[in-house]
Amino acid sequence: MAEVASPTALAQPGGWAILRRSRVSMLALWFLVGLIIIAVLVPPFLPEELKYTSKDSLLPPGAACTARQGIIYLCGTDLNGHDLFYRLLTGAQVSLGVGLVGALLSLFVGTLYGMISGFAGGRVDAFMMRVLDVLYSVPRILFIMIFIAALGPYLTDGLDVARLWAQAHGWTTLEDLMITAIRYSRIIIMVICLGLVEWLTMARIVRGQVLVLREMTFVTAARAMGQSSPAILRLHLLPNLATVVLTYLTLTIPAVILDESFLSFLGLGIDDPAASWGSLLKDGAQVINPLDSKWWLLFFPATLMSITLLALNFLGDGLRDAFDPRSRSR
């Protein structure tokens, strides 16, 4: 292990070339890019009739809209007459957004924790790793459920105070921002809680890399020249960690998306007018029965979500093969 995990292997050019040669990873990448573009750009252009509840309850895919001529429901409608296609796309915005922001948050916490632990070494390191072990063995998702239930209302209150304050000072932009934030406060609290939980693996990986890197001559040289520890961490270690962190970011996104859908599926996540893939699947799973199956309510969200998670995992694995010195040695 010692001979392969050198920082030169990390910084070596050619990682991107390896990634580009992997056909599956590139396919996954293009799928994700396409999905994000469609999820962001298409919903505003859909006809207004599709965006709200209607009388067209539980119509199969391809059925025509009764309110206006010439509109068909591509993926059918749900119990409240929502167009499933529209909800899939807005759900994609929520799920992908939660995944990305949550993963970024976990990246921040995990990298900081791992760098401090690895760089400090000795007893501090041992203690921080012991804390990590304990956190690994605690049913974390339970605490997320409690955190969201308890802290959600306080966040809404806080945002409302900020809104009133902005109103009093006549800052309309901030006021509008707060109004939007209050509408999505449930999602915001969820992102924060998930991000503060999924950082454990990231911390462990970063720490391992720092342990190797800090023994390198360029770190010794920097220290000999009188650079402070924070400066060494920032200027010398962080750049060398970039690709590893990027790889595990890609692998954390699907984990956060899964957590979010887990909570929404249990009814503790996204509330009804808004939708995420998890809440759509919850609606779909409720109507499954042998006699009159509303298959589209389950089929479309399940397929879209599975393919997206698969693509993220394929891309993450590809990145790991390309950049992780340990797996390249094989």
Binding site: M1, S137, V138, F143, G278, N313
Partner: protein, 335 residues
């Protein structure tokens, strides 16, 4: 000691100690290890109980506010009965005093039920489900991963690893309904849901285990490949060890260690993951306790459930650590 990272056995790292003189020393260290683990377990439990209690008590609206015919006076009486009427600190210390005598309290939703009774009724279901899934995930994962590593880059390996990635990516609440539709409704081989018979256990436990079979298989494959390429095995081969089975025994003993470290987190994942599986397969287990008690603000029931889960996981991790020490001679568990 960092036992998670280096996999290659260091031949010279086992100091040859005098057998007789170290026996007492060994026992003393072992005792110290257990005491330290016990203390850390108590700290974890105390933190878990405190966080749960304080957060649940700071949710707006108490456990009785949603009741219809509850006059102010009746609610106040109930709050007093449950020691929920004082300041947060008074409530908390009353709860901690009760916990110190192993009293989990009464449910505020299901009046006349003690938390321990409710848990005793629902927990066994979830634990059985989790245990079966645990066995499937660990054994199935190890076998699959070992096969992949041995037949590396053949169709066996490729199918297994693509299958593993699919199993990790597809969430249980997708596989669940899919299995129900396919095996239960269409083929009619197994019951759709419910609990009680062995046949009803098959689908939920498979569904719960699937992603973790995949995870363990990937872990096992990578670790076995590492070991097969390592120096000590090369030395063994160079010295003329031709017997494939003996070689495998050597390699497996070391390669299985990362899987063993994952067993603790695996148990935690399975216990929480069973919530969704229970909901999909209509099983009345501990999952509903968590979801309902959060929604009903049932402080004591939720606290009790969290505590029981944490106790179980702490105990399990202790067993895993001891097991690790037994498997890996380089590690002294108390080190």
């Amino acid at each position: 000691m960092d036992r998670r990272r280096s996999l290659e056995p260091l031949q010279n790292s086992k100091p040859e100690l005098e057998p007789g003189s170290n026996l007492r020393h060994h026992a003393g260290c072992m005792l110290g290890f257990f005491i330290r683990r016990l203390l850390s377990a108590i700290v974890v439990l105390w933190l878990a109980a405190s966080i749960t209690f304080v957060l649940m008590r700071s949710i707006r609206g108490g456990p009785f506010t949603s009741e219809k015919a509850g006059s102010e006076k009746a609610i106040a009486a109930k709050m007093e009965r449950f020691h929920l009427d004082g300041s947060l600190w008074e409530q908390y210390s009353a709860y901690m005093r009760a916990l110190a005598t192993f009293d989990l309290g009464d449910s505020t939703k299901y009046l006349d039920w003690r938390v321990s009774e409710l848990l005793a009724q629902k927990m066994p279901t979830s634990l059985t489900l989790g245990m079966v899934a645990f066995i499937i995930a660990s054994i199935g994962g190890v076998l699959l991963g070992a096969m992949s590593a041995l037949w590396r880059d053949t169709w066996v390996d490729r199918t297994a690893m693509i299958g593993a990635l699919v199993a990790i990516s597809v969430p249980t609440f997708v596989t669940g309904p899919l299995l129900i539709a396919l095996v239960a409704l269409w083929l009619g081989w197994l019951p759709v849901g419910g609990w009680g018979t062995t046949r009803q256990l098959v689908l939920p436990s498979l569904c719960l285990a699937a992603p973790y079979v995949a995870y363990v298989a990937r872990l096992m494959r990578n670790s076995l490949l590492d070991v097969l390429a390592s120096d000590f095995l090369r030395t063994a081969k160079a010295k003329g060890l031709r017997d494939g089975q003996a070689l495998m025994r050597h390699a497996m003993k070391v390669a299985i260690l990362p899987v063993v470290t994952f067993l603790g987190p695996l148990a935690a994942h399975l216990l929480t993951g069973s919530m969704v599986v229970e909901s999909v397969f209509n099983i009345s287990g501990a999952g509903s306790i968590f979801v309902n008690s959060i929604q009903n603000h049932d402080v004591f029931l939720l606290g009790g459930a969290v505590i029981v889960y944490c106790v179980l996981l702490q105990l399990f991790n202790l067993v895993v650590d001891v097991l690790y020490g037994v498997l890996d001679k380089r590690i002294r568990v108390y080190g």
